[in-house]
Symmetry: C2
Subunit: 241 residues, 2 copies
């Protein structure tokens, strides 16, 4: 039985991705607070595509060419850019049908790390059920790549990855063999009834609270606000549906 099941595994940080890659057809990049949540919100609000770039230099280059460009570092909008990674910043008429560029502290770094995988999709708590449904339809070996915070493990991405893992394993068609995946599942099970409470001591949430971003945090930790399943094609993100 076991060998016919697909794998669903969790990698805690982009720095560990090299130990996992090559075994998975699909990589789900997760940065709950806030890049991948913002990307889902952008597609919900009718954006056409997003070009994720890892560095500020790349972002400045696009800005010169006239693109709408978002840039966030350490939770704040970088000077000289139009917006950061608050999901609310994408809920404006002016974005509809547009192609925008985005660079963030952690999320776009993970997308860059995963870019050579067969398929890269964007996961968050806001599109949890839409993502799970889409992944189950694909029935491929799947890795959840958590973005972490400045190369370190973070709780909110891990809990999101644990939620995806648990749902896929529950179908009977998937299995996990890595300890990181088992831990993610346990952490999700302890957290699922109260994300905000569970994450109250989380380092990144605390950091955003200090920046007065509590409204953003609440949005980011609310499951299933979005039906978007963003996918990377030729270096640009599009919505699949």
């Amino acid at each position: 039985m076991e060998e016919t099941r697909k794998r669903i595994e969790v990698c805690f940080t982009p720095g560990e991705y090299d130990y996992f890659k090559d075994e998975f057809e699909i990589v789900v990049v997760i940065d709950v607070l806030r890049a991948t949540t913002a990307i889902c919100a952008a597609f919900d609000n009718g954006i056409k595509s997003i070009i994720p770039v890892p560095t500020l230099e790349d972002a400045r280059e696009y800005k010169k060419q006239g693109y709408l460009v978002g840039a966030e570092r350490k939770g704040q909008i970088v000077e000289g850019f139009d917006f950061g990674n608050s999901p609310y910043s994408y809920m404006k008429e002016e974005f509809k049908g547009k192609e925008v560029v985005l660079t963030t502290t952690n999320g776009t770094k993970s997308i860059a790390a995963a870019k050579d995988a067969d398929t890269v999709v964007i996961g968050a708590l806001v599109n949890l059920d839409a993502m799970i449904e889409w992944l189950i339809k694909q029935n491929k070996n799947t890795l959840c790549l958590c973005s972490g915070w400045q190369d370190k493990f973070n709780l909110e991405d891990t809990i999101c990855a644990g939620a995806i893992s648990e749902a896929l394993i529950a179908t009977g068609n998937y299995t996990s063999i890595e300890d990181s995946s088992i831990a993610a599942k346990y952490l999700y099970i302890s957290a699922k009834d109260n994300y905000m409470g569970y994450l109250k001591s989380s380092s990144h949430r605390r950091r955003l609270r200090n920046l007065n971003l509590n409204k953003d945090v609440k949005y980011c930790l609310t499951p299933n606000l979005s039906k978007s399943v963003p996918i990377l094609k030729d270096g640009k993100l599009y919505n699949q549906e």
Copy 2:
């Protein structure tokens, strides 16, 4: 209040140690299955000192010089060496009062990574309470460095680190700010009443079971068999008590 408390944090793998070092006076190196457990067992059984070395080449060099040398890779004794990292292999008369050399897949690699810290000590579930008591007496900023399995996260080291963290925080004199430390504590709390059951799906335990090392695994997962608190001094491990 907060700023007078010492920190107790958890680093999941040696590969992430660089993001943590320099902030901690004490590093507790943990490799529950089986290197740090075996080191505690060795001191319980009257060994004088252990020279941990990261590579097989180093180990061979010592063997040429006539030392008793243990070498383990991927759970098995390396050909040409006297013993590996089974705790039972140290429970022999011939080791009493001796200096031995040891290299293992993960544990001695972590010791090598941490070697420049002010103080490096050896933790495992078998010396949990002895270690906690010793750490509380020191009252210093403390990092638990988990050895993981081939550079990836593992559950048993993380649970041991979570147990140490929880006990130190319970004194009121310590605090954790990293998400990895919070996760380790949660995982310990879920696991503490039944380590064997909790770890039944753990990848490394499964690997050792396949090698018929169930007796070793039971020993390694039994808290407080040992009163040893091994410490690194000038490249050699000694027992403090």
